[in-house]
Amino acid sequence: MTYCVKINDREYKFDEEISILQAAAQAHIKIPTLCYNEKLAPYGSCRLCSVEVEGRKTLMPACVTKIENGMIVKTHSEKVRRVRRTIMELIIASHDISCNLNCLNCSRSSSCEIRQVAQEIGIHSIRIPPIEKKQSVDSSSHAIIREPSKCIVCNRCVRKCAEVQNVNVLTVANRGPKTIITTFMDRGMGNVDCTNCGQCILECPSGALHEAYHLDYVWKAIENSDKMVIVQTAPAVRVAIAEEFGFKPGTIATGQLVSGLRLLGFDKVFDTNFTADLTIMEEGTEFIKRFKSQKKLPLFTSCSPGWIKFIEHNYPEMLDNLSTCKSPQQMFGAVIKSFYAQKIGMDRDKIVVVSLMPCTAKKFEAQRNEMKGDVDYVLTTRELAKMFMQAGIKLMDLSAEDYDSPFGESSGAAELFGSSGGVMEAALRTAYEIITGHELENLNFHEVRGLKGIKEACVKIGTQEVKVAVAHGLGNARILMERIKKGEKFDFVEFMACPGGCIGGGGQPIPTNEEVIVERMTAVYDIDTLAKHRKSHENESVKRLYKEFFGEPLSERSHELLHTSYTVRH
């Protein structure tokens, strides 16, 4: 059926019964919204998308009103604009903007959605004085801070946490002016089943949610001449940080990132990709061992700290299936503070390890009792961008430089860790060659790539078939875990807490949406394709590290430094 709709005096035809909002978008008309996200269930709370529909007494919310054949819609009439201005004025009054110019120190000072929407609506005067809410900041979490006074209760974080992540730690409470978003019994983000994934931060339009900042600690460490400050860079950061400087998503900025970090004053700039290769050596070997003995299968990956906390809370009975490998971030810290400290003859206490991550959960991971002290501070992509700006560094104008030796070398496989399916693909490349002893002809495992929520494949290694699966986004992780619990058989499963994997991490530039994630993903695979080595076991520096220090994968020393244990949480 065809729907003829008149929007602002022009006829349009649509094939599907879509919402007025979607129809207007197809007609290149942007209707302002604050509570809407096409990936989440419509909620209809901000009412900014209200439009005039002929024959209706009240305005209609475009996000939830479906088009009808013959409908006549006005999206920006005088009446509509006046109502939007009033609502926006009310929102601004409730958003804790004070005359102390607290916009300037907001986490979203450069990416404020409220300001953007206010501009779209054309707020020319503020007649309603701001309401002081005086709600206390929730800093109970190692990873995520909530500033409820800034919250406009659009409910996007609640829906993201529930619908996409299926974690459900946020909720609406109370009614009337006391309506707030909070955690169970107001316990705070650090005291509930929060996985620290930070997807709520990406969803928040108002700066009411942000990461627990480490940048001031890092500045201090850099200033302290007694300390050697070493930074490691995660694979997903180099394909995203350019966005913070106005470049389009998918721009690769590896070399600029390295020179920028040197300019900031880091003593050594190393690469988490190095320990990603190391992880593959350990985890790949662990898989081969479990697969041969058919014990504790399927093996679950352990790189994503959001996923780890999720399984600890929700499926503690399956913790044995987790790989005991530390994540690349933690392996890096452990190697630096043991082998490297020894090698350069420095007291480990004088070394500060900073990691640069697309992730908020990494902040929690670094504080875990099981591996406390390996990594001192964790910066998100957004925090690092702030540091560059504070230092006046125009990152994308810098010329590219190479990582420091010896932890700067990495394979293309390591870069894949940044994307959903990447750990699996990297592990398969190595496991195949170790098991069969033959060179793998086609390195690209397309079945585990892409944005499908749960990806499955049967991979032939020699005479045996290995059944693998990949889930990204904790909502998908839960679906897959339920299938596994019901008895579906897999050998090796990769789990990532964030949609798209680390490139869609809660510490990444805002916006991080599906279109942006696709671009970053393409960049990850481009880096892999162009790499000199594309398999982790071909990394010469990793080989040397085994020769000089660890002996072989799963050796006693590697167990001591590169592996960890987990905590049952209820």
């Binding site: 209200s50 009240t58 109502v83």
Partner: protein, 404 residues
């Protein structure tokens, strides 16, 4: 004078209440019962005045093995207490109406949702359900027919917004009390996503009463647009507040106040909120308005749920405005921005008016704009009506003074 129609059977017990309406209904076809409801032109008594027969038609037309009838007894509007009167004094008639509705729209399950503070009403309904189940007036094969119906009592938890029908459905399901996005209408996807008929206590009681008669009794009462009688809750500055039944069109507002409620207390009448605090006030010159849906609409106000509040000249109008604003501010579900923030900001502005001792014309202008934004864009009827009386009092008694 009062017209006793719905109030018939006052004080009867299970032993002498005859369930005549139900007896007759069960001997008719469901479609005939439905037709009778339509022919009698009953308008919903919850406040919106939507024709009940049309609502019933929607639900009856839905094909579903499970349908529900929900009786809305979450009477939370300040100054409205007529449902309480029915629940406490005529519980069998209320339940009878629910069963008849179930029969007509082919629903076998019903809920009656009663405001939590109505302890006496809750007790009365609970005991009545028990007694009626014992006498096989509820449960399988009611009065020996093939029709069975189960009724469950739900006690509200104190949120005014749950009186909105979709919020009420959420509340029964154990969810947060906030209005649902329509469509789908409850008639299509209501309680537990099943076709659901939601009717007010008075509406269902009226239907039980009408079914007693072979002729269409309602057509001989009231005016063409306002059929039958209406229970009025009168409160405020009157000598005899209470619940009165009147025939539509037979009395003016002034007659109701003087003849039924015993006249105004104090030094004279200030203004009247004819349909409760969500309706515009009417003042002296409109007091001759006959009490009907259509005549009250003419004045720019509304009959609402029939909660008439009378205010004497002696009152401090600004503190009344503040009281009304407090109510709406605290009772919004807090979901949609215009209603939550609009009512909060209006309240702040009224606070300031009281502390400054003056009402600025710009304040009224802003409140007028907020009212328009809420009225045009809020999520549900609660918000849309929340500023009516506040603005109408300010406009009538404070705005003019600025220009005089």
């Amino acid at each position: 004078m009062e017209k006793i129609f719905l109030k018939t059977d006052f004080g009867k017990t299970i032993d002498n209440y005859e369930f005549l309406g139900l007896n007759k209904a069960l001997r008719m076809k469901p479609s005939e019962v439905l037709e009778k409801v339509k022919e009698n032109c009953i308008r919903g008594r919850g406040g919106a005045g939507f024709p009940a027969g049309i609502k019933w038609d929607f639900v009856a037309a839905e094909k579903s093995e499970i349908k529900f009838v929900v009786c809305n007894g979450d009477e939370g509007e300040p100054g409205t207490f007529k449902d309480r009167f029915l629940l406490e004094n005529l519980p069998f008639k209320v339940i009878e109406g629910i069963i008849i509705a179930g029969y007509a729209v082919d629903a076998r399950y019903g809920y009656i949702y009663i405001r939590g503070e109505y302890e006496k009403a809750i007790k009365s309904i609970r005991e009545s359900i028990h007694k009626m189940t014992e006498r096989k007036l509820l449960g399988k094969s009611i009065l020996g027919s093939s029709f069975g119906f189960e009724l469950k009592l739900i006690r509200g938890a104190g949120a005014y917004v749950c009186g909105d029908e979709t919020s009420l459905l959420n509340s029964i399901e154990g969810k947060r009390g906030l209005s649902r996005i329509k469509p789908p209408l409850p008639a299509k996807e209501g309680l537990y996503e099943k076709p659901t008929l939601v009717n007010n206590v008075e509406t269902l009681s009226v239907i039980a009463e009408i079914l007693k008669y072979d002729q269409n009794i309602y057509l001989s009462l009231g005016t063409p647009k306002s059929r039958g009688t209406k229970l009025l809750s009168i409160s405020g500055d009157v000598k005899n507040p209470g619940v009165y039944e009147i025939e539509f069109g037979k009395m003016s507002i002034m007659q109701i106040i003087n003849d039924l409620a015993g006249g105004v207390k104090g030094s004279g009448l200030g203004f009247v909120m004819p349909g409760g605090i969500a309706t515009n006030i009417i003042s002296d010159e409109q007091l001759d308005t006959p009490y009907t849906y259509e005549d009250l609409e003419q004045t720019g106000s509304s009959l609402g749920s029939g909660g008439m509040i009378v205010v004497s000249k002696d009152r401090d109008y600004l503190s009344i405005v503040k009281n009304i604003s407090d109510f709406f501010m605290n009772e919004t579900c807090g979901t949609c921005f215009p209603c939550r923030e609009g009512n909060r900001n209006i309240n702040k502005m009224i606070d300031k008016m009281i502390s400054d001792g003056k009402v600025g014309s710009q304040d009224i202008e802003i409140i007028r704009e907020i009212k328009q934004a809420i009225g045009l864009a809020a999520r549900c009827g609660f918000g849309q009506a929340s500023v009516n009386s506040i603005l109408s009092i300010l406009e009538k008694y404070f705005e003019k003074k600025v220009y005089v």
